[in-house]
Symmetry: C2
Subunit: 273 residues, 2 copies
């Protein structure tokens, strides 16, 4: 049997790569993509799964992912089928043999640099901080470019398996503790995309919400694709308040009520976590 | 009487500058700031007003603005006191005497370039497109740098008053029509920031929403500042469904109900538009 294909937001060694590994294990065939849009576009019978970042606890929702969820193929051929909560542990990596005291520059994605300011100002106060397109790109730069031979990268530990010439100098250097995945709550979930049928600015979002009658854990808002100013799409993540009845039926009934209230509703996915 | 001080997201000639002019007129003293955060921080007895972008119809909410609204001084000393809806009309500007046929490069902010792709591919298919930090920075570059003497900038018309050496080659070149400000709806509005008291991932957002009993026009979600993973702040923009009663009392009563449902609530502002 061929390995299952999984697209993810690359390059090799990103936190999305790590999340994909956590879900699909070592035997899947991982295909890194340059952008979140590319992950969506690459899905096919041979690459049936894609992993994209939805949110991080410091910088919030990932706009590019929600923008892709606006397209009509999501909810038809493509569906959300699961979620992974990853306790992001930033590590400080450097080439083997380079001690902390010799580090001149620290490279990482802007967000990761921001999350590690406490560590950096305490332990590397005079190191220059350089922004890179991703944490994995920072690891690649210090591993492969002589210019950065005495630099460190802030990135995921997985980068040491991708670049064996690198070592971990420090683990878990971010401001916030890692996420306890249990605290994120277990249960049945679904994602519903709703939009007012005529989309005026004064559409009252309470009308569909007041009839949903499911738990609501997230609401995200993006401009719709139709071109009318201030016509929004809302992404409502719902959860089952108490088990017992069939979750699929509960969601389906809720969508019927939303549509009776004059709003369009499309089920983007249903999953258990 | 000294002119009223108004801080805005600069530099001179941005759409935020234009929105500020629309609200405060020609006699105010405008103080451009480098960042949205700087606009908030610059407010003082001599600069009592600030203008920041909240949303545009193509790219959605402006994250940096909502992030500033998370801070506890908003809703105490600082309040949202009004809104301006601006029909953004991108213009193509060049130095006086340079015709469209001689344009080699087009400079603008990435979003504005994106919004004008239709015009550019039709009228300037071979011009190089160059990203600049803002539309106003593009205007400044073509006005002041000899390197860009035969370049055009996509920006607001206001830039021709800031840089009199520039002329408008084309007006309203964006994909979408300007916004009819009337369509955005008039009436009484308020912005309320809510947060669950203990902030679990499965906090049911329907509990406070179902008791608000006001019109809800916008819901935005940002990570809270407390450091707990997935503890969100929600920004609920509400509107008065029918005039008659006192809007301030309606909002105050709604907030009491939200707090009784176990959520924190803070009034960030109340205004008429």
């Amino acid at each position: 049997m061929p390995a299952i294909g999984v697209a993810y937001l690359g390059p090799v060694g990103t936190y999305t790569h790590q999340a994909a590994h956590q879900k699909f294990g070592p035997s899947a065939k991982y295909v890194g993509q340059d952008t979140i849009k590319d992950v969506f576009n690459s899905l096919s019978p041979t690459i049936p799964f894609g992993v994209v970042p939805q949110e991080n606890t410091i910088f919030g929702s990932v706009i590019e992912t929600y923008d892709q969820l606006r397209h009509s193929n999501v909810g038809k051929g493509l569906f959300v089928v699961g979620e992974v909560t990853l306790g992001v542990q930033h590590c400080l990596l450097a080439r083997k043999g380079i001690p902390l005291s010799e580090i001149k520059d620290v490279l990482s994605h802007e967000q990761a640099l921001g999350q590690c300011q406490g560590f950096l100002s305490k332990h590397l106060p005079s190191a220059r901080q350089m922004k890179m397109p991703s944490t994995a790109a920072a690891a690649e730069a210090i591993a492969t470019s002589e210019e950065y031979a005495t630099s460190a990268a802030i990135c995921s530990k997985i980068c040491t398996t991708v670049f064996p010439e690198l070592d971990v100098l420090e683990e878990s250097i971010q401001a916030m503790n890692g996420i306890d995945t249990d605290s994120s709550g277990l249960g049945n979930r679904a994602l519903i995309r709703i939009q007012h049928s005529d989309g005026a600015r004064t559409s009252d979002l309470l009308l569909p919400l007041s009839v949903i009658d499911l738990g609501v854990s997230r609401i995200d808002r993006r401009p719709s694709l139709c071109g009318n100013p201030f016509e929004d799409m809302f992404f409502i993540e719902v959860f089952q308040r108490s088990e017992g009845s069939k979750w699929g039926d509960e969601v389906s009934d809720a969508m019927q009520r939303v549509m009776k209230a004059g709003w369009k509703a499309c089920l983007l996915g249903i999953w258990h976590c």
